[in-house]
Amino acid sequence: MDKQEKRNMIARRVAREFKDGDVVNLGIGMPTLVANFIDGDKKVILQSENGFLGVGPAPEPGQEDPDVVNAGGQIVSILAGGACFDSAVSFGIIRGGHVDATVLGALEVDEEGNLANWMIPGKLVPGMGGAMDLVVGAQKVIIATEHCNKKGEPKILRRCKLPLTATKEVDLIVTELAVIEVTLSGLLLREVAEDSSIEEVKEKTEAELIIPDEVGVLR
């Protein structure tokens, strides 16, 4: 699988987590891809934390509206039935638990559901933007990430080492190799990719994994 295939696979699997009527906030980068794979039968309402509900696809060329951009700065559209608001309302929606699920990337995620995805001290300090509020506020926090970092090192750790985005908030981790649920007892391996194995997942995961009797197939 090339990088793009991996990303599409992750995005496709994440999209299946949503229920009809869910309000979902997709983070910048790979999480944004998830929108392409949401089942048309489900009415999922996308929120953009810069201030609107009802995020739609990029418009036809020539129809771009410079005031209609998502939180990543990409030109999008607002679907009929959408609503615009200020940043306090937007984060009231987020912090108040009115977002059913958020999908975010990770630098590191750990056995307790801790997440680090906003800075690497001395190197990359972009700021947390809306990520800390999203992770604390959303009902379900789904991490969409490649299983290992660019150096091939595990991103799913016993304990995060980088500065945290939030503590104990992650619910599900979806990678190109596995779907892992964060439970009170630890990380539960739910699914393994067809072309991978429990052994490969264990090897590429620093954290302890709980392997249930039945492990599904990630496709």
């Binding site: 005031d67 607002i78 984060f91 604390v136 506020g137 939030a166």
Partner: protein, 221 residues
């Protein structure tokens, strides 16, 4: 009746050492004509309160590049590498604040609250130096109010009473900042007569606005 002034007149009201709020999210909803004039006029040692520092050649990023800032209170600087460089070189003090907390701090500053308790940032570096207050068994961080000497804002339309309406994602921090500065200057695309905005459609009441500036009209689509 609010006075309509030029970007240059607006910029002259921004003086060395002031705290300045600027609306916008990645330059959408940023009053670019006023900001450009502030760069030309060259006020120094400003404390900027803003969602993000835009891009090196766009929006408040120009103020970063022009060395006009002493400090930035901001949620995201990732789109402007120069801010990060100046932060690392200790040329600018950067205070990073979660976006929702920043919004509440400005709202608190504008609405006479002594602060709000937010769960965001508990157990992270954001907690450092903050008061932790436990309510019903849950820890929250006390986010204290933010105000500024001047707010430079962008709206879609105003009437001559200063009532504002915003467009799409260009609303963002603008209505909040309108409440939280001693002097509020708003760049608009169109100024209407009093009565042309229905009271139910006003987003920011005119009592919050001191001056209007006619900016360039955005191309819609």
């Amino acid at each position: 009746m609010k006075e309509i002034i030029s970007p240059g007149q607006a910029a002259k009201m921004v003086r060395d050492g002031m705290s300045v709020m600027v609306g916008g999210f990645m330059v959408v909803g940023t009053p670019t004509a006023i900001v450009d004039a502030v760069v030309r006029e060259g006020a120094k040692d400003l404390t900027l309160i803003v969602n993000d520092t835009g891009f090196p050649e766009q929006g408040v990023g120009k103020m970063v590049s022009a060395d006009q800032l002493k400090k930035v209170i901001v949620s995201h600087i990732g789109t402007n590498k120069i801010t990060g460089e100046k932060m690392n070189n200790k040329e600018i003090e950067v205070e990073l604040v979660p976006q929702g907390t920043l919004a509440e701090q400005i709202r608190a500053g504008g609405s006479g609250l002594g602060g709000v308790l937010t769960p965001t940032g508990v157990g992270t570096v954001v907690q450092e130096g903050k008061r932790v207050i436990n309510v019903d068994g849950q820890d929250y961080l006390l986010a204290t109010p933010l105000r500024a000497d001047v707010a430079l804002l962008k709206a879609h339309k105003a009437d001559r009473a200063g009532n504002l309406v915003f467009r799409r994602a260009a609303r963002n921090f603008n209505p909040l900042m309108a409440t939280a500065a001693d002097l509020v200057i708003v760049e608009v695309e169109e100024v209407l007569e009093i009565g042309e905005i229905d009271p139910d459609e006003v987003v920011t009441p005119g009592i919050f606005v001191d001056y209007l500036v006619m900016g360039e009209v955005q191309q819609d689509g």
